[in-house]
Amino acid sequence: MSRTAVVVGSSVAGVRTAQALAAGGFDGRVLVIGAERTEPYDKPPLSKHFLTGVWDASRLALLNGGRADERVELRLGVAAEHLDVAGKQLRLADGTRVPYDVCVIATGASARPSPWAARDGIHVLRTVQDSAALRRDLLRGGEVVVVGGGFVGAEVAAAASGLGCPVTVVDPLVDPMARVLGPRVGPLLTGIHERHGVRTRFGTGVVAIEGTSGGLRVILDDGSVLAASTVVVGIGAVPNDGWLRSSGLDIADGVICDEYCRVQGTRDVFAAGDVARWPHPRHGEHVRGEHWTNAVEQAACVARNIVHQGDPVPYRPVEYVWSDQYDWKIQIAGSPALMSGHHVIGDLTGDRPRAAVAYTDTTGRLGAALTLNWPRALVACRRLLAAAAEFTQAITELDLLADARPTGRR
């Protein structure tokens, strides 16, 4: 009898799981249920090439009609509302019941909503509609205030500045990137905005936002007021796990899984992407990823563990995130914030440095890395991290790479 795999969530984690099931030998039906009506699309360009208009919506498509894609059935524009674990079925918002043999939860996250009263002219950024609406306002011109100096905020600031808008980034932390990179290296990236002519008000919180689109006032906790045509609030994401509350599953800022990404307390339910929280051996605790590569690697792991039920593999990735800001290509592997020391390779000076920061843990191994405008070093660092290489060996290898010069072809 043919089995049915139902994947809930039609973005990158859900689609990649479905593709990997179809390509990887799952013999039954593969159905993806998505709340959004829009054909499955990808998110990273929404704060980069799509926001600046360099890419159109066709470049965002997650399904490209390949061999595996033909086997993936889509049911879009309807959210799953309830998961009945014992009865092995889902209830959708339109009342339909969908039975499954195996279910994958890939409902991701939503932008943390703006806590300030003003609504008109205040943007968050998570969906393609959000990005298109923000782009319309940016093209109108005028001052832009970005609240939040994390990755998405920094990318939006770069994009808005590239479109010719005067931009100010506000964050209550003095060094917003220190959260990710540690206090010694954080300023390197936190300083990127001023280097590119974007003002920052770091160490200053927002008290209130008043007014309407085109005439907003952002009131800061030092008493100053920033006038803005457009405000973007990029203050993080919250997992879409509310719909699971009635399921009896263990929910704690994401759905709790075991090391195989199987949802705790179930046999046939798995989770992948921004909604999944699983025990990561390197962290010694349950973690939830919020990056693209985590979604894709976890999707592949889940599909594999569904197809090879009797022989599951644990999910223990080397974290990886990239961010494109101004003309800088920023790539981070591992978790720098957890590390104890670091060493800089290459050259940090100049408008577009080509450099790496290698981090070590207390055991003398390479523990994490940041690379700037140097993908080749990132490749080496990811390989060395996966091999648990000695810190000194890693530095020797990176020093050798630093001697090779780009041809300038790109």
């Binding site: 990997a20 990273p44 595996a68 993908p375 080749r376 996966a386 780009p406 072809r409």
Partner: protein
Amino acid sequence: MPILRADHGACQGYANCVAGASDVYDIDDDGVVVLLKERVPEEERQRVEEAARSCPVSALTVEGG
């Protein structure tokens, strides 16, 4: 035999392909993908397709049956 293709213009050097299949994909000093092979045996298809699907800008394809 599956044929590998790369769109060098689209490549952004995100390097997930190398993490997925380092015997097939590499990144050069300019940060652009290099195909180390043009074809792979059918048995390799699934693994290489998975590496190709991990490209954030869909610069990689595996063609042919």
